[in-house]
Amino acid sequence: MKKVETLIIGSGVVAAALSKRLLEKNPNMSILILEAGSRWKTKDFGVWTDWVATGNDPIAPNSGNPMYDHAYPDRNNYIWGENASVGQTQMPLEGGRAMVYGGSTVVWGGWSLRRKPEDFYLYTNTGQGLDWLFNYDELEPYYCQSEDYLAVSGDSKDELPVMWRSQPYPFHAFPYQLQDQPVGEALQSLGYNYMHMPIARRGVSNIPSRHAQCQTTGTCDYCPFGARFAACDYMDDFRQWNDLPNFDVRLGAVVLELRMSSKRRVAGVTYRDTASGEIVEVDADRVIVAAGTLESPKLLLRSKSRYWQNGVGNDTDNVGRYLITHPYVLYSGELAKNPLRLQPEMDFPTLMTRYFDSPEEQAKGKYVLVNISPSVELSYSSMMQAGWTRKEIDKAIPGPWPFQIHSMIEIFGEHKNHISNLERLSHLGMHQSRVDFTAPSTYNDRVAEVGNVVASVMEKMGGKMTSYMTSWRCDHAASTCRMSKDPKDGVVDGDLRVHGVDNLYVCSNAVFPNLGAINPTVTVTAIAFRLGDHLNSAA
C-alpha cells in the first residue's frame, strides 16, 4: 500500500494552489492528487477552430461532454438522467461544475471579486447564519496571492478605501467597452457607482511568465492560448518546469471513502480506478478534501465507521446541510435604438456595479449587476447564414435589439437544504447526488425588487425591461461543510480542519458560511494558500 504525506481529493484550483504552496517549501514532499474525471484537452487549435466554424461551444452544458453531470431524470421528456432533485426548487447540476482534471476552472468565467469586509460578519450584522472565523484584513495578503496566481486584470483603485489592498492587481484593468456606455451612463445618472470587472485574463507586466496573454479573442470558454486560468494548465506547467519527484496526479480515481484509524485520525482513502476497476487503498499523513461543495460532504457522509456512525465530522448533523448557490438572474429587455452600433466585441464583461453589494442590503441579500458581454444580442454570423443581404443587415443594426443585464443575489443557508448520496452511480462511476433544495420564501419578492432597479436602469438607457428568469444552477454552490467555532454549528474550524479529526481538512466553497453576492473562486484560492501556510507552519 502506498503512503503519502499529503493526499488531496479533487484537482481544481484548491489542489493547484495548495500543492504549489506546499511544494515551494518542500519540493520533495509526497503529494498525491486524486481526480475522478479525466483530462480535457486545452489550448488546442483544432478544437478552437471547430467552435469558430460551427458556433458549437465545446464546453457548453449541452455539449455531451463527460465532465458534466447529466440532467435530472425527466419521464415526461424521456430523459433517463442522473442525480435526484427532491426539493421544491430545482438546482441544476449539469454544466455547473466540471468533474475533470482542473475542476471547474476548466469552464469558469474568470470573474474575480473579493468579498467585502462585512461579508465575513453575516451573523454579527444580521443575526442570520454564521460569521467567518477570519476576516478581510487577515485574508487580504492571500487575496493578493490569489489574484497573482489567477492572473487577474483589475483596477486597484476601484474599491478603495473600503476594500484596502496591500498589492495592486497584477495586470491593469480592461477599459470599459463601448457596449458599457449606455449602462454606465444610466447607472451614473441614477447615482449608482460602477467599477471594472476584475477578470482572470492574463495581461502584460514586467514579470516574465510562461503563460500566454489574453488576445481579446472572445472565445473565453475555450481559450486557444490558455490566457484564462485553468488549474490543469498550471499544474502541468508546475510539474514540467520543476523537479518535484514525489508529486503525482492520478486521474480516473473515484474516492469511495475515508478510512479512519481512530476517531481523531484519518488513515487514508479507498478509491476505485475507473480504468481497471481495481479498488486501491492509499494511506496519508493528512487528507485534504477539495472536491467541491457537492462531493466533499458526500464523501464525509458515506465514510461511516464505528468511530463516526453518521459519517466523518457529522455527529452534529451539519455535513451536507445549508446548501446555497447564487440565483443568477437574467433580466431581459429591449434597447429601442442602437446609435452607437453596439455589437459584441468581447466575451467577458468589463463593467459591473457593487452598489447594492453593501451593508445596507446585507440582511435582505446583497446583489451585483453586471453588464454581460455580449449584452446586445446582435450576430452578423446568424444574419449572413440566414441569407440576409448587406442592405438588410445595415438596416437592422440601428435597432431595436434584445438586451440583457445579469445579477447575482445572495441567499442564506437553511438546515433543511441538503446534499447527500444516492446508491446508484453516475456515468463517471461516482455516487449520484440527492439534492434537497428549496429557495427562500422571500426570494420572489427580492428578485422583483432587484428587477425594479434593473428596470429603472434600462429605462434610463432608452429601453424597457421585458422579463426575467432565474437560474439556480450549482456553479457557486457553497456552505455544505461550513466553518464554525462550535462543532455543533458546522463542520470545520478556522484552519479548515474537520472538527474532531486531527489530520483531515476540507478546502472548498463548502466551508464558506455564506457566499456574499460575488463569485467564490478568488476567495477559495486565497483560503487554499492560507491553508498551505498553516500546514507548512505546522510541519
Partner: protein, 160 residues
C-alpha cells in the same frame, strides 16, 4: 498557428485537399466578400484559410467529402447558369435552378458544413470591421497593453 510548415520529419503528413478542390473552396471563401460588399483584403487570409481547412480535416477527416461535394455542386450549378448565380443560391437561397428535393437536401447539408463555416471564419479573420467595430468574438484583437489603445472600441465619458 500561422506556421503551416512546422512539422517534425517523423510526424504523419498533415491532411490536405486535392489542389482543385482547395481552389474551389478558396474561391467560395473569396466570394463571401462581394456577396456582402466586404472591403477587406481577402488575400491576407489565404494562409489562415489553408490552415483552417487542415484543422477541419484533422478533426473530421470526412470533411474532405463535404468539400469535394461542394466543389462539384458549384461546378454543376455554374455550368447551368454562371458562377455568381451558383454563389447567390448558396449564400442567399436565390434559386433559379428548380432544384430537385435531393439537391435541396444536399445544398442544406453543404451550407451547414461548408459555407456557413466559411462565413464564420471569414468574420473571424476580420471582415466584421465593415460594420464599424475593431474587435469581434473569434477575432484575435490583441493584448490589453497599459498606455496603449484598447484592442476594442471603448466607452467615452464614463468615469475612468
Amino acid at each position: 498557428m500561422y506556421e503551416a510548415k512546422i512539422q517534425h520529419p517523423l510526424s504523419p503528413p498533415l491532411p490536405t485537399l486535392p489542389e482543385k478542390i482547395e481552389k474551389a473552396m478558396w474561391d467560395l471563401f473569396v466570394a463571401i466578400g462581394p456577396a456582402w460588399e466586404l472591403d477587406d483584403d481577402v488575400e491576407s487570409y489565404r494562409l489562415r484559410f489553408h490552415v483552417f481547412l487542415q484543422n477541419r480535416l484533422a478533426i473530421y477527416p470526412f470533411y474532405a467529402a463535404y468539400y469535394e461535394a461542394m466543389a462539384n455542386f458549384i461546378a454543376d450549378l455554374a455550368s447551368q447558369k454562371n458562377l455568381k448565380a451558383a454563389y447567390d443560391l448558396i449564400f442567399f437561397g436565390n434559386n433559379p435552378y428548380d432544384l430537385e428535393y435531393s439537391q435541396e437536401l444536399l445544398l442544406s447539408v453543404l451550407q451547414k458544413h461548408v459555407s456557413f463555416e466559411f462565413i464564420n471564419f471569414r468574420l473571424a479573420c476580420g471582415s466584421f470591421r465593415v460594420w464599424g467595430a475593431i474587435n469581434y468574438i473569434d477575432y484575435f484583437g490583441g493584448a490589453n497593453l497599459k498606455d496603449e489603445p484598447a484592442p476594442y472600441r471603448t466607452a467615452k465619458g464614463l468615469k475612468p
